[in-house]
């Protein structure tokens, strides 16, 4: 029986001017140029690339348009999601104009659970181009959104996901405690896929075939995001695809 193919999203974390490995978004190791990473992932046949410039909101710098302009020359048709520093619909439009295919918003929404701003962005660029990012921490089996700028927690129950369904196309759930770890993604996060009817992308500490299979077997999960470990080996992306060939489309260089 054939199943609908899911996506493997390559995640590039950017701190200031360089791509970095991130561990729980507070410990970073330098990797190099974002442009060359994008070029490499595109050549490998990545389904989609997510650029997360996570210091932009904290430093109130707005989106990194210069980086985006450079990157788009290297993506060669690979769909690109941009995230970081997005404040309003004007920023969102600028990002799309400068080569991103979709945008991901986090802080500007969950800071005040501002649906209006999110609706304006969605109206401007279309629901299909908008993803909501929710960094999650689990405490005593309760789910909290972690605000990485103010470092406080918001109970996820405060979000009306029925309203969001009309505004965003997907939600990226990041396991905050385990982001950047070797396969320590907390599978309790999958409970969210029962609560939220919007397609989910899971990210943070997902490195093994076993974990990928467990996550993607869930009907409401559309993709997984892999970050650090794509930088450790040649053809790392293709290896993930091969290990989980039932879920992903074949890449150009994957073995039969």
């Amino acid at each position: 029986m054939s199943i609908i193919k899911k996506r493997l999203i390559s995640v590039i974390n950017v701190l200031e001017k360089i791509a970095v490995q991130s561990r729980s978004f507070n410990d970073y190791l330098p990797i190099g140029s974002s442009e060359i990473l994008v070029e490499n992932l595109s050549r490998w046949g990545s389904d989609e690339i997510l650029i997360q410039c996570f210091d932009r909101s904290k430093k109130k710098l707005g989106p990194n348009i210069n980086l985006l302009k450079k990157i788009t020359n290297f993506k060669k048709g690979t769909p690109l999601i941009y995230s970081g520093g997005i404040r309003n619909s004007f920023d969102a439009l600028e990002i799309i104009k400068n080569g991103a295919d979709r945008i991901m918003v986090g802080y500007s929404f969950f800071q005040k659970l501002n649906y209006d701003n999110l609706t304006k962005i969605s109206n401007k660029i279309g629901k299909q181009s908008l993803i909501l990012s929710l960094p999650i921490k689990i405490n005593k089996n309760n789910f909290y959104i972690y605000n990485y700028v103010d470092r406080n927690l918001t109970d996820i129950k405060k979000i009306n996901f029925d309203n969001l369904d009309k505004i965003v196309s997907e939600i990226l759930i990041t396991d905050m405690y385990n982001e950047g770890s070797y396969d320590r993604f907390d599978t309790r996060m999958l409970k969210l896929a029962n609560i939220i009817k919007i397609p989910l992308i899971f990210f943070g500490g997902i490195t093994s075939q076993h974990k990928v299979k467990k996550i993607l077997s869930h009907k409401n999960v559309s993709a997984v995001g892999i970050g650090n470990s794509l930088n450790f080996k040649e053809h790392a992306y293709q290896s993930f695809v091969l290990q989980n060939r039932n879920f992903f489309r074949k890449t150009s260089y994957a073995k039969k």
Binding site: L29, E39, H235
Partner: protein, 417 residues
């Protein structure tokens, strides 16, 4: 007194690196750089368990028939070559094929060391001698375009082993340490990072692969650069080529390792004019001279800073003494430039003029046409009391290169050492 320690020159509190490192570096909220943090892993890792991990990986590549090669080791006449061959041949009991890219600026010492490698370890070695006319054309192009004389050497050294892996169908390439991990903590030792085309382009080749050179230089043709082209992804995939780094599995300490190699195999070392380290790059006339001068122009620090950051991390020198040493050595004369000008057929004045155009104005202030003031990392890193050198760092110097020595273009062995 501190001259400038704002975010532009944010220095690590432990070593001498700043956030201006060309490989990229992250300095955390406590003022410690990613390189120093990753170095600390060397003191906590269970290296026995790592060694077992390495044995398990390499076991899969050992051939049952002893008449062929188990792996490839890229070698030069210096650096980690002896130690890597020692580990692979004597400790892992593998049969390696040594491969060496001829950079043409070989010192007699480097040739002697290569000869020792072949004979004392009883290994086969393949040299890649690219047509010197092409090498000179490429060197001219990269010098003008990138301000780099070393692009061809770095490119050749990193691509030749991969090409041999494909053509001989030997999947495993064994390298020494990963430069990005050792210097700036690009990866954890636990990541077991392997060789990749992306890293090579980004960091070894300054973002410019061979094919990019043609588009940026009218003088180069495809025929000039084809020996530097990285094999296609399909070919790599078909053979299963992978390059592992021993530094992920062995507590890597270059100084200690070199001293072992001197003792065991009479590895030849010599003094350099621009550093106290006698072990690194003794195979090349240019690495610790002209190339090092260019590094100072472009990046505001020279190789001695890299070497002493390493020694600070191993607690063999304190930060203040290291900074004093750097200031003493980094602007010393670069030797053997006459040889390079003759080899490339350019005159020294033209070379100097050209190199001045690559002086990074973050680190150099022009006073007049010929005079510049250095404002590199050591200039800004004066936030401590300088004192006379109290360092106890000692290096074994068992040989030397004559001032009038010439490039050894091809050589099987040198008797004079």
């Amino acid at each position: 007194m501190q001259k400038n320690n704002n975010s532009v020159f944010n220095f690590c509190k432990k070593c001498l690196y700043s956030c201006q490192h060309p490989l990229g570096i992250v300095i955390d909220e406590n003022g410690i750089c990613s390189g120093c943090k990753i170095h600390e892993e060397k003191n906590t890792i269970n290296w026995n368990s790592k060694w077992q991990e390495l044995k398990k990986i390499t076991q899969n590549y050992k051939l049952k028939k002893q008449n062929f090669y188990d792996c490839i080791i890229p070698v030069t006449g210096a650096n980690d070559s002896f130690f890597v061959v020692h580990v692979v041949k004597n400790l892992l009991k593998m049969n390696p094929l040594l491969v060496c890219y001829n950079k043409y600026w070989n010192t007699p010492l480097g040739i002697k060391n290569l000869s020792t490698l072949r004979t004392k370890f009883n290994c086969d070695i393949i040299f890649q001698n690219v047509n010197p006319i092409k090498v000179k054309k490429i060197t001219k192009a990269t010098l003008y375009k990138l301000g780099s004389i070393y692009w061809h050497s770095l490119s050749g050294h990193t691509v030749f082993p991969v090409q041999i892996s494909i053509s001989y169908k030997i999947p495993l390439i064994i390298w020494g340490a990963h430069q990005g991990l050792e210097q700036v903590g690009m990866y954890s030792h636990y990541d077991n990072v392997e060789m990749s085309r992306r890293y090579r382009k980004n960091h070894d080749l300054m973002g410019v692969e061979a094919e990019n050179l043609i588009s940026s230089s009218d003088n180069l043709t495809e025929g000039d650069i084809f020996q530097y082209l990285y094999p296609d992804d399909h070919e790599l995939n078909k053979v299963g080529t992978r390059g592992i780094y021993l530094g992920n599995f062995i507590r890597w300490d270059v100084k200690e390792q070199h001293e072992k190699m001197i003792k065991f195999y009479n590895y030849k070392t010599c003094k350099s004019n621009r550093t106290i380290d006698c072990y690194d790059y003794v195979d090349s006339f240019n690495y610790m001279n002209l190339h090092d001068r260019i590094k100072l122009y472009k990046h505001g620090f020279s190789k001695i800073t890299d070497q002493l950051c390493r020694e600070i991390r191993f607690n063999r020198i304190d930060r203040n003494s290291a900074l004093t040493m750097v200031k003493r050595y980094e602007q010393r004369k670069s030797l053997y430039e006459k040889n390079f000008c003759e080899w490339l057929n350019i005159n020294q004045k033209s070379l100097n003029y050209l190199l001045d155009t690559f002086k990074n104005n973050k680190f150099w202030k022009q006073i007049d046409v010929t005079r510049w003031k250095f404002k590199g990392l050591s200039y800004h890193n004066e936030n401590m009391i300088l004192r006379k050198n109290s360092a106890k760092l000692k290096y074994v110097q068992n040989s030397k290169i004559k001032v009038d020595a010439k490039y050894v273009t091809f050589g099987k062995g040198i008797k004079d050492f």
